[in-house]
Amino acid sequence: MAARETNPNFMNGVPELLILRLLQQEEMYGYEIVQAIRCRTGAVIAIGEGAVYPVLHGLERDGALASSRKTVNGRSRIYYSVTRAGSSRLADLAEAWTHLAAAIQTILTGGQHGEAIQRTS
């Protein structure tokens, strides 16, 4: 199996955030989740597609996701959906990420970090 180049250094916590956000809208199985991430980010976020499963299993273990096996078109799939704890975790992650993104954006545009934090808080 050959490897594909990914961008792991900037991905800490991002797959978790994207997965929770996508699953909050509708339940999906692994392949659908990866396709949705690729489609909605314009393929900017590149993760090894198989690496999504340990994230899903970890979230399920933490109680943020629930899974159920369903047979669709003759194939058995494991569908994931967000639990109440998962929604709460998504809100925390989204808030933290928004602050971080705003701070980075401020630096990129030459502003003060403190201003960005004040504006977003």
């Binding site: 199996m1 199985y29 692994g30 392949y31 597609e49 198989g50 690496a51 340990p54 970890g58």
Partner: protein, 238 residues
């Protein structure tokens, strides 16, 4: 399971990921691979090209293994606390099985031999079956526990150290155990069953005899695990 994932499965198990997590991971990966292959075929690739491209998209073995291994909570308890699962737990299980055998012996004595001084006498009819179950449990307990240890170790691709230590402990415990039946102290009273464990040799046995008995039990209980290791070493070197 699809062939491309054999290496991944072995790496995950050797790294200590619990077999049930490995199984689920590989099942979902195989499904994902099938979906990607269909997608690539729709894009005009041949079957072989589509499968190859799908594998690349899925991720390399290193990445897929690392993603799972880094999540420490997927580690098997057999790897996290081998001392508990290969020494404490088998000893407790063996003790529980011996206790059950003693209960069968004691209840059989009360049911089928109410006036007898000991349950170790000739019996007939249903009593043969009843006492036979207890005897079978008593003699097979260390073998069954040993096979259980071997099964767990093989499933988790464990090194031999902890399983063999557990097997040796079980063999020694079962070689030094002794069950005794005592008469009732008052006429018509209830007798008692006693189970003794000796550190070196049970009473009436020399250390050499106990050692021989332990070796016989160890050989029988370790046989499946040793055969599995031999077969595995043979298949790897071939």
């Amino acid at each position: 399971m699809a062939k491309p994932f054999n290496e991944l499965r072995e790496r995950l198990l050797r790294a200590g990921v619990a077999p049930r997590h490995v199984r689920r991971y590989l099942t979902e990966l195989a499904d994902h691979w099938a979906d990607l292959t269909v997608e690539e075929e729709r894009a005009g690739r041949s079957r072989a090209e589509a499968e190859s491209a799908a594998l690349v998209r899925l991720g390399g073995v290193d990445d897929l293994a690392r993603a799972m291994i880094e999540q420490r909570h997927f580690q098997s308890w057999f790897v996290r606390a081998p001392w508990a699962f290969f020494s404490l737990a088998p000893l407790m299980l063996l003790a529980a099985m011996y206790l059950t055998a003693c209960l069968i012996l004691w209840s059989g004595w009360k049911i089928f031999l109410p006036g007898a001084d000991s349950p170790f006498v000739r019996v007939d009819g249903l009593a043969i079956l009843y006492f036979g179950v207890g005897r079978l449990l008593y003699y097979s307990a260390p073998i069954l526990v040993g096979w259980g240890i071997g099964l767990v170790a093989a499933r988790q691709r464990l090194q031999a150290l902890w399983p063999m230590a557990g097997l040796a402990l079980i063999a020694w415990m079962s070689a030094t155990v002794q069950i005794q039946a005592g008469q009732a102290t008052v006429p018509g009273g209830l007798g008692h069953i006693r189970m003794n464990f000796f550190p070196f040799a049970s009473s009436g046995q020399t250390i050499a005899e106990t050692l021989l008995r332990a070796l016989a039990i160890l050989s029988l209980s370790a046989l499946p695990f040793l055969l599995w290791r031999f077969k595995r070493a043979h298949s790897v070197s071939a």
